[in-house]
Symmetry: C2
Subunit: 418 residues, 2 copies
């Protein structure tokens, strides 16, 4: 069987399964999630054994330590996967909800019903736990899923797939509700992202280059998260204690995350009052500072920032700092350089806050809060399948609702168009 034929078969099976899982009620979907959790538990040793093969092959192939760490399954990580399944089972089921009901002059009653997208393709890298995270969110939101993990995790993913299939069968659902692409051939990805007749949306999870490549080649719509070049702007009217707390937290709470601040903007009138204190705090954390000319004049430890620094997502203890004339220049800078992920203003002035919230074109905009709050759990989504920096469909953290759409429903009593 060619890769194209194989993927067409996978796609057709997913399309058929999507109608069954779309019609499944909440109790059945939750039963399946719990059954998968139990299957993971009872397959615990098989999962560790399969992962050991991947780890051995990974070491033999010279994978670096960071990649091996992401690849590794431990008893704790398996427990976390099981807990995650149970948490998704607890989330409210969005499917079938009808909202915005209204009576129209024609006599029809009009509303919107929340429905699954259909078939979701997930493309990810080495972390095997994504297999469960993604499958559980898609299942709860009534979608069929096609999962394509990294080739280095193939044995782990096969073992997880076996547990998922057992759980689905226990619940009386077809195994094709969640399919894992059982080949490491890269041509399979090319097929997956162009099978518009079988796949409704692609969610890539992984590094910037993976996502950029998939976005460039996909024919299926992509919900993508490219990068997080997040800003905090300290306004003239900021409470400087809040400003310092937020700017320190947004940068130093965790470095390798997409909602960390990468660039700090400070209004000129308060720069001298706040930047030296901030620089001292950053020095304690070992954060390297790269500043504009005015910043370097105020802070001796700062190196000069180059143009490319303003675009950079460091994911590291490095921060670029720019002193701006005020709110307008801050908004213009953010809309030019930001990756449209998350940007925050610190100000006590409600009008300025409102202007920032309205005019900054990012998926999350914040006033007087750390950018680190841009997260599915913090937003109460329960879990997230990614953080979208796209403009259409879903922006920001994408939870169950981002994996759904709404269709129009019309209730009549024999109405015809006159």
């Amino acid at each position: 069987m060619t890769i194209k034929n194989y993927m067409q078969t996978v796609g057709l099976r997913a399309r058929e399964a999507s109608q069954i899982i779309a019609a499944a009620d909440t109790a059945l979907k939750n039963q399946a999630l719990h059954a998968i959790a139990e299957a993971l538990q009872s397959n615990h040793n098989a999962l560790l054994a399969a992962n050991a093969i991947d780890m051995q092959n990974g070491r033999a192939n010279g994978l670096d330590d960071a990649l091996l760490d992401r690849l590794e399954l431990t008893p704790e990580r398996i427990s976390a996967m099981i807990d995650g399944l149970k948490q998704v089972a607890e989330l409210p089921d969005p499917i079938g909800n009808i909202t915005d009901l209204q009576d129209r002059p024609s006599g029809i009653k009009l509303g919107k019903m929340r429905v699954p997208l259909g078939v979701v393709g997930i493309i990810y890298e080495s972390r095997p736990n994504v297999t469960i995270d993604a499958a559980s969110l898609c299942l709860k939101s009534g979608n069929a899923t096609i999962l394509r993990g990294g080739s280095e995790a193939i044995e782990s993913n096969r073992a997880i797939a076996t547990a998922i299939a057992q759980g689905l069968a226990t619940a009386g659902l077809p195994e094709s509700v969640v399919q894992i692409i059982d080949t490491t051939d890269r041509a399979a990805v090319g097929e997956l992202i162009t099978m518009t007749e079988y796949v409704d949306v692609i969610v890539p999870r992984g590094g910037k280059s993976l996502i950029a490549r998939i976005s460039a080649e996909a024919r299926v719509p992509v919900i993508k998260h490219l990068d997080g070049n997040c800003h905090v702007y300290i306004d003239d009217k900021a409470d400087l204690n809040k400003a310092i707390a937020i700017a320190v937290n947004a940068k130093t709470h965790r470095y390798g995350v997409c909602n960390a601040m990468e660039s700090l903007l400070v209004a000129e009138s308060v720069a001298a009052s706040v930047l030296p204190a901030l620089a001292a705090r950053y020095a304690e954390h070992g954060v390297e500072l790269r500043g504009c000319e005015k910043t370097c004049a105020l802070i001796k430890a700062a190196k000069p920032a180059r143009e490319e620094d303003w675009y950079e997502e460091y994911l590291a203890p490095i921060l670029s700092i720019k002193i701006v004339a005020g709110l307008e220049q801050a908004i213009a800078h953010i809309n030019h350089y930001s990756s449209k992920h998350t940007d925050a203003i610190v100000t006590e002035d409600a009008d300025r806050a409102a202007q920032f919230m309205r005019q900054v074109d990012s998926s999350s905009v914040m006033v007087n809060a750390s950018t680190r709050f841009a997260d599915g759990f913090e937003y109460g989504l329960g879990a997230e399948i990614g953080i979208s920096t796209d403009k259409i469909h879903a922006r920001g953290p994408v939870g169950l609702e981002g994996l759904t759409s709404q269709k129009w429903v019309v209730y009549g009593d024999g109405q015809i168009r006159l």
Copy 2:
């Protein structure tokens, strides 16, 4: 200047203008809409003169009568454009609305703000009034617009563009809020649909082949309306008087529209009671019937339907009819053959209606109402930019809200992540 350079310039200007129109308040946008209406009125003669050139060229180039009819501007059509602008000014402005406010355990207040998409590219064929329809909806929803009309309408579109520019200038808005691509070179379309840095969404309006080609080649997300192969299913538990009224209306009210019924499904147990009466009504309207074997046995006038009939959007007085075992088979048939536009059930049984509404995967699903109601005006959207048969972002009639998205807004008081 090459076409690529020209389009890059158009794109950059649109991106810049999008920030200005996104920040514009409702009064300013409505002022612009009224000023454009006045400019159309005062440029009335220039519009007719420009259109006369297009019509003359069209006749010289052998355009058929239907195309010439769509191309023609008359005093009545110009009045309709002016009325349309005033109606869009009356619509509520969705931009800036904040909904779903909630307090999170961290102390932040979370909500969603309705925002424009940014830059919308509209690609359409010969009807010059689309220039005004599309521009007005995009303007009211805070988007910058790039319009690409058919080459046969270039003089009319230039004249309309002049009026739009006058109106924008009167309101103090930059002319680049609405740009018309001022070349008939087809390469411009190729640039427009791939300039992902400058264009946020493409809305193609026109025939199936135009839309299919754009969807296949676009890198920018497309809100598309491919076709309307709409169904009515007459259930075992239908009120047969309602069934006849709806099936006649859905087919014969207008033939050339995407929400007309193209295929009728009838439950076997009621086929003999309802089909002969229906056939008589269709005969009065001169509708050609193409039926399955059982239908042909009941109705002598019906010709045998071929497999391709079930896929067909006739847009003509032709109807395919299939007798099905019951609800399940009707749903399966619709989900297989329908274009996911609009499908209706006629039944008095609430459970069957609910199953149909839930399981039929179309942008509008209806019970006891004519498919002809699937329309932006009937749904109270005021106007529509198209009817989407996509699964993500917007499904069904797309009005102002479909040209917007939501971003997350977070209000804190100095909260940091612990």
